[in-house]
């Protein structure tokens, strides 16, 4: 390898795979007889195994959160926040990120072989929930010998997993960092997800989920789903700053080809997504988002849902995020305040929209770093 990596990157990384042969009961009532989780880790686990951090990924993420795969030019999805000297400092912490169940990057999902049939699960893969993910991640923690995470951290859908960890395993998580999160989806959020799903489900190449058997991919549907998602991740300001109404050829052509730069950008985002993501995984992930509602088992009272939480919380939102606006984060904060939990909250001024949690916004990184420093000092890292 002659590749040079930036000094603040974890550099070359190789994913690992953990097999679990005990069945996993799922919220939907089905169970997976056995399963695999693919994960990456960065940094070193200390002697008393107290410096472990779990990073949970969002909708289209994977286990590849930081560093570079051999030959790849693009780093992992959270390179802005994970690495030596970064908020999640790999000189201090042992960082684990796994590909969620139902994913398409190695963990057991729709593309995996169903041991009962010998064929890919496809549409037969059961619908998984945030709680199922947390349950599977607890198994991974067991396998790695990690009794308690110094922190579970995530943005968006990842933040929901951090919350669920704090609720389901109060003794196994010292801190939860919930970034650009929400305690449950709004009707508008679910509506966007439904449009994305309909784009996939109505693609003629979908074949009721058995497109792998047919040797095709519902490319158009998945690309459309990504396009609508992408619009909601950016802010109006960010789009205006990036594209304005700039025309590709400098003039209007009175046709339906790509004319505005923003159209070109969206089509590119959609197309490139098809090459790295699976349509059924997208359906599963959006369903997990829709179903997430930890207060549902507590008469819709979020503070009761969080009453047993022992973790300290850092909640961060971004001013221009309209997918999960600051008011949604404040609901989480309020519920924690109601029962006198340890919580800090900041609404970061950023113009990037929901995607800001992936960006190196200095104020964001500053507060995040300061909090992680506290986490590190607590565990002697």
């Amino acid at each position: 390898m002659s590749q040079d990596f930036p000094a603040d990157s974890v550099g070359l990384v190789t994913p690992r795979q953990q097999h679990f042969d005990q069945p996993l009961e799922l919220d939907c009532g089905q169970s997976l007889p056995e399963f695999d989780l693919v994960y990456e880790s960065y940094g070193t686990l200390n002697e008393d195994r107290s410096n472990a951090i779990l990073v949970a990924h969002a909708l289209s993420g994977s286990h590849h959160a930081a560093g570079y795969h051999a030959g790849a030019h693009k780093p992992g999805w959270w390179e802005a926040c994970i690495g030596p000297g970064k908020p999640i400092d790999t000189n201090r912490f042992f960082v684990v990120c796994s590909n969620n169940l139902g994913g398409c990057h190695g963990s057991t999902g729709p593309l995996s072989t169903n041991p009962l049939t010998g064929r890919p699960y496809g549409a037969a893969f059961p619908i998984v929930t945030v709680r199922d993910w947390v349950r599977s991640q607890a198994r991974l923690a067991d396998a790695l010998g990690i009794q308690r995470w110094a922190a579970v951290i995530g943005g968006s859908l990842g933040g929901m997993q951090a919350m669920q960890w704090a609720i389901d395993y109060p003794d196994r998580i010292a801190h939860a960092v919930v970034i650009a999160g929400a305690p449950k989806l709004s009707a508008q959020n679910i509506a966007f997800n439904e449009v994305a799903r309909q784009a996939i489900l109505t693609d003629p190449e979908f074949h009721e989920g058995h497109y792998a058997d047919e040797g095709v991919i519902p490319r158009r549907g998945l690309a459309l789903a990504r396009m609508i998602g992408h619009i909601t991740y950016l802010s109006d300001d960010a789009m205006r700053a990036k594209f304005g109404r700039e025309l590709r050829e400098g003039k209007i052509n009175f046709n339906y080809e790509v004319e505005f730069q923003v159209e070109s950008y969206l089509r590119h985002q959609g197309q490139s997504f098809v090459d790295r993501f699976d349509a059924t995984t997208y359906l599963l992930m959006t369903k997990a988002l829709d179903y997430f509602d930890p207060a549902a088992n507590f008469d819709d009272d979020l503070s009761r849902a969080l009453a047993g939480v022992k973790a300290g919380f850092l909640v961060l939102s971004f001013t221009s995020d309209w997918r999960f606006p600051p008011s949604r984060s404040r609901e989480i904060v309020k519920a924690l305040l109601d029962t006198d939990k340890s919580v800090s909250y900041a609404d970061i001024v950023a113009h990037h929209g929901h995607d800001a949690f992936l960006m190196p916004v200095p104020e964001y990184l500053g507060i995040f770093s300061a909090y992680m420093d506290r986490v590190g000092r607590e565990v002697g890292a």
Binding site: S342, S344, E363, R374
Partner: protein, 203 residues
């Protein structure tokens, strides 16, 4: 903002029962809460609007909640704190009267400190120079001051009387945070900073 606030902190700390739950409005870098945690084993939160102050709170290990006090304290339930404290902030909010009532909605008692605009030096400054007074407690020029609702000891007490707020304790200090006899006898004239502990009067 005065350079050394610790005498003010000491006075506030003396007023607070150990182990109380405290909400600190406009907590700045969180130093007061840190001090109260150390001296009075309090638990609680700081509310702050400024991002760089929020950063310093997190660095100082203080639980801080990003809040615009002008929007009230709607994230907090009634009577959820023993004390709601607000140091050197009353004069900087849009609705100081409403905020005082909010303090007594979420807390059993309130504690505020503010610069007394009737201090003799400020009066003299205005009388002699005909310009907006500046002092160590009020270091800003009139056009860029965060202090939009300056008041005097008498103003504050009049407001309390009008809103059925009972003053439990008052302390006044000179410019150097020393208690002095003159300031105690004639606070409106000689107090540089005024400290009050108060609660809602029962009807």
């Amino acid at each position: 903002m005065s350079q050394d606030l610790s005498p003010e902190f000491r006075m506030i700390s003396d007023w607070i029962k150990p182990g109380s739950r405290v909400l600190d409005l406009g907590c700045g870098d969180g130093r007061l809460l840190g001090y109260l945690q150390d001296t009075r084993q309090v638990t609680g939160y700081g509310l702050e609007i400024d991002q760089s102050n929020i950063l310093r709170c997190v660095q100082n290990g203080i639980n801080v909640i990003h809040t615009d006090l002008d929007e009230g304290l709607q994230d907090f339930d009634p009577d959820s704190f023993d004390y709601v404290v607000m140091t050197q902030t009353l004069q900087a909010v849009h609705y100081p009267d409403r905020l005082l009532e909010e303090m007594l909605r979420v807390g059993r008692q309130g504690i505020v400190t503010f610069p007394n605009f009737a201090h003799w030096r400020l009066r003299l400054h205005l009388a002699l120079h005909g310009r907006m007074p500046m002092s160590s407690a009020l270091p800003h020029a009139w056009y860029d001051t965060p202090n939009i609702h300056l008041c005097t000891v008498r103003d504050f007490e009049a407001l309390c009387a009008e809103r059925q707020i009972g003053i439990l304790q008052r302390s006044v200090t000179t410019a150097y945070f020393q208690e002095s006899l003159t300031a105690r006898l004639m606070p409106n004239l000689f107090a540089s900073v005024a400290l009050y502990r108060f609660e809602k009067l029962k009807r």
